[in-house]
Amino acid sequence: MQGKITINGHIRDWSEGMTVQDALDMMNYTFRMLVVKINGSLVPRKEYAAATIPDGAEVMVIHLISGG
């Protein structure tokens, strides 16, 4: 099954079974410390490889950078 999702405002192709890690790889988000939300719900870091993204989802990826 094919569809579309939105990642940080960019529309991208979606396919059945796509995980958070797949989406991060697709976007080249290699930064070590990220916060990922799918349709407003936080995905814990240890679940990136297992958590799947539903079709039409709004994915938000926030880069966490040291300094304070």
């Binding site: 410390m33 916060v35 407003g40 870091r45 950078i65 300094g67 304070g68």
Partner: protein, 203 residues
């Protein structure tokens, strides 16, 4: 001086809401020390502040401490500096390293929470901990504060009850501390957002 004298010329609608509010601040460094003073001046009724560290000379380029306070625990030094500005605030300070085990107990009664850690790993820890313990309470974080200039690149990104202030791009260079001006801009934006959200919540 009476309490009434001290709190003169305050906004009649906003100030009573801020006086009743409790704000949590995780970290009392560049962001946290400045955020605490800003909120104390604005008239927040109670602050809960946690930090394990002591004041060092390298902190003085951006943190709200003095030379005489070098070597003192940051929470203790910050408490002195806040009370020197506003003696009518309630402070609940904890000199300890904050983690997912003690954060829920220390900050359970806050109306809004502010992340003011230094390390990205600690920021992520707080976001995950907060989401699982208090998803109904708004959390204001910072990410990307290094360097100078580029004020216009500092923005607020919001998703549900999570707000991130910063440019989300500028990384620290090894051995070079963040600079006062950009740290203060982000601290002020975090504090300003907290004041705004408290008013929105009260409506």
């Amino acid at each position: 001086m009476t309490r009434k004298d001290y709190f003169c010329e305050r906004d009649p609608l906003a100030f009573p809401i801020w006086q009743k509010a409790t704000v949590g601040i995780a970290g009392a460094g560049g962001l946290g020390s400045n955020i605490a003073l800003l909120l104390a001046r604005a008239g927040i009724g109670k602050l809960v502040i946690g930090d394990y560290d002591v004041v060092s000379i390298s902190n003085l380029n951006r943190q709200a401490f003095t030379l005489k306070q070098v070597g003192q625990p940051k929470t203790e030094a910050l408490q002195q500096n806040i009370l020197a500005v506003n003696p009518y605030i309630t402070l609940d300070v904890h000199q300890k390293r904050l983690d997912e085990d003690n954060i829920p107990a220390l900050f359970h009664d806050v109306d809004i929470m502010i992340e003011a850690f230094d390390k990205a790993k600690e920021k992520a820890m707080l976001i995950e901990c907060w989401q699982s313990c208090f998803p109904q309470i708004e959390l204001i974080c910072a990410s990307g504060i290094s360097g100078y200039g580029k004020s216009e690149e500092i923005k607020i990104v919001t998703s549900g009850n999570l707000h991130i202030v910063g440019d989300q791009t500028s990384c620290l260079s090894p051995g070079i501390a963040p600079i006062s001006t950009r740290v203060m801009i982000v601290a002020a934006m975090q504090a300003n957002l907290a004041l705004e959200r408290l008013i929105c919540k009260a409506k």
